[in-house]
Each structure stands twice: as C-alpha cells, then as structure tokens.
C-alpha cells in the first residue's frame, strides 16, 4: 500500500507532444482500448517508481512501439526497426534507445509537479508478474502512437 498521492493521468495530447519533442518529429496519438493481459505478442514493461521506491505506474509498450520509437530517437533507419519487428525482438541498440524513451517519459508527470523515476524495464513475450495487478487499472491511458516516418505502435500508462 502506498502513502504517495496518486499520479495524475496525462492527456493524450500531452503524451503525444512529449514524445514528439523527444524524437523531433510528429507523433500523433489516439486513445485505444486494449487488454494487455490478453496480448499474445511481445511486450515491454517499464517500472515508473516514486523516488522512495514504491511502484507508481507501469509503462507498457508493444514491440512496434519500442522499435519505431527506439529507431526514431537515434535516427536509425525504419528498415532496421522493421527487421526487429519481423525478428520479434529488440537488438541492443534499439533496446538502449527505447530505455531512454521510457526514461524521458517519466518526466511527463513533471508538469503536474509529480516526480517518478525509471525502475527496471522487463522485455518479455509474456506478461511480467509485477504487471498483473496493474493491467486492470482504471487509472490508465492506452494509446496508439504513430511515429511519423516510421510506423505505429501501442503503449499504455497504467497508474496505481
């Protein structure tokens, strides 16, 4: 049980603008409904933690989002990202880049005066155990994000 005040749910436009600023390109986003628990494909789970260490939120992303955003961040070719999607896994460079996307995304809560830091990132075909209590979170923002010049992927912020 946390003693922390719950995080504010960011807006669709806020997250889209934030990602666009990071990647230096338009990243239009739209809200979607997704049941991450029923996803059969590869997902990543990034822990957003309060400075005191408690879990504040999970940032869930599918493989296309990780690949497109990771590639766009460092201006890697879309083809390289496409290859990773076909291969079903991130190579080390894309993984490192996506980690930076997740790291910077923690700052999206800054505008509400809230602070979280990136904890561990789990890359898995199956849902990580720590994600299970949060996948049904009612305080959430699930998005489809198009990284202009690359492609579209899905991600979600699941808040405690």
């Amino acid at each position: 049980m946390t003693n922390q005040a719950p995080l504010t749910i960011p807006t669709v436009q806020g997250v889209a603008s934030f990602l666009g600023g990071l990647m230096g390109r338009a990243t239009p986003a739209k809200k979607i409904k997704v049941d991450w628990a029923r996803e059969k494909g590869w997902l990543s789970f990034s822990e957003f933690r309060y400075p005191e260490g408690e879990l504040a939120a999970l940032f869930v992303a599918d493989l296309p989002f990780c690949c497109w955003s990771g590639a766009a961040l460092a201006l890697l070719s879309p083809g390289l990202a496409q290859d990773a999607i076909k291969a079903g896994k991130l190579d080390q460079a894309l993984q490192d880049n996506f980690a930076e996307v997740a790291n910077v995304l923690t700052a999206t809560f800054r505008e509400f005066g809230e602070r979280v830091i990136l904890g561990q990132i789990h890359y898995a075909k199956l849902m990580a155990p720590e994600a299970r209590p949060l996948v049904a979170a009612t305080r959430r923002l699930d998005l489809e994000v198009t990284v202009t010049g690359y492609g579209a992927g899905r991600c979600g912020l699941l808040l405690t």
């Binding site: 934030f18 666009g20 600023g21 990071l22 230096g24 390109r25 961040l73 460092a74 201006l75 490192d96 880049n97 980690a99 930076e100 790291n103 910077v104 923690t106 700052a107 800054r110 602070r115 830091i117």
Partner: protein, 147 residues
C-alpha cells in the same frame, strides 16, 4: 541566475532563421556527459541544429569518466545528465568546484523538481535544460551561460 529551458519555449517547427545562424562563439570545446549513448548523440545533433559550430565535442558516459577527461583537457562547456552510474552529475559538479575548474557547467536532464533546480544552482550550474528539449532551448541556455 539559473536558466531553466525546456521544450515549452519552442517546437522544431517553430525554428526560425535566426536560430540557424551560427553562434558567435565558435570552436568551443564541449563535453557531453550522459550514460545513454542515444542521448549523447541527440545532444550533439541538437547543438548542431542550434547553430553551435565546433568540431571539438567529446563524450563521457558517467561523471567519473568525465572527471578524468576534464582533468586531462578542460573543456569550455560541460553538458551533463543528472542521474548516471558511477558518479552523478551533481557529484561531478561538486568535484569540479573543489578542483577550481572554470568550465561552464549545465545540466541536460529529465529531472526538473524545484529541489533539483535549487541544488543545481547552489552547486554552481549555469543552466538546466530539461528533456525533451529543442534547439532553441539549447541556444537560449548556452547564450546565457556564455554571456
């Protein structure tokens, strides 16, 4: 006075011609300190987009490595992340102050709490650029630091 710059100042699409004009100070020696390789590359790219014209840009992946580089050859400007393994940005800045290093020091970080800004200012940082950033936020911060 500490200068705080963020993307709210400007978007890429709002870049104007004055932003593309070269900096008055060229050939400045710059050290970029960040544990994320991609971010070091982005900082390098953004400096170029901001109009900083220099070939003398070096990189370090944490404070400890940066300290060694700075002792060997002090840069004019240090752009440093806040959270890094081995030695954090604020620890690096404190070490440099002890050594009497005169390089201008600014943070480029996703942190941005009032406490962090106060700590940065107290330690002697010239500016804090928060991620995500724009070329204009870079230019504004560096202009002020050089002024």
């Amino acid at each position: 006075m500490l200068c705080v710059c963020s993307r709210k100042l400007c978007r890429y699409s709002e870049l104007n011609s004055s932003l593309r004009a070269p900096f008055k100070v060229t050939n400045m020696k710059i050290l970029i300190v960040d544990d994320a390789k991609a971010m070091r590359m982005i900082v390098r790219r953004t400096l170029r987009q901001a109009g900083v014209e220099t070939e003398r840009i070096d990189e370090a992946c944490n404070g400890k490595e940066a300290l060694e580089r700075i002792k060997e050859a002090p840069p004019d400007l240090i752009l440093c992340d806040w959270n890094m393994p081995e030695m954090t940005g604020i620890e690096l800045l404190n070490e440099l102050t002890k050594l009497g290093c005169k390089a201008r020091f600014g943070f480029v970080t996703s942190e941005g709490t009032p406490q962090m800004l106060t700590a940065a200012h107290t330690a002697g940082a010239r500016f804090v650029i928060t991620k995500p950033f724009t070329p204009e936020s870079f230019r504004s911060a560096i202009d002020q630091a050089l002024g």
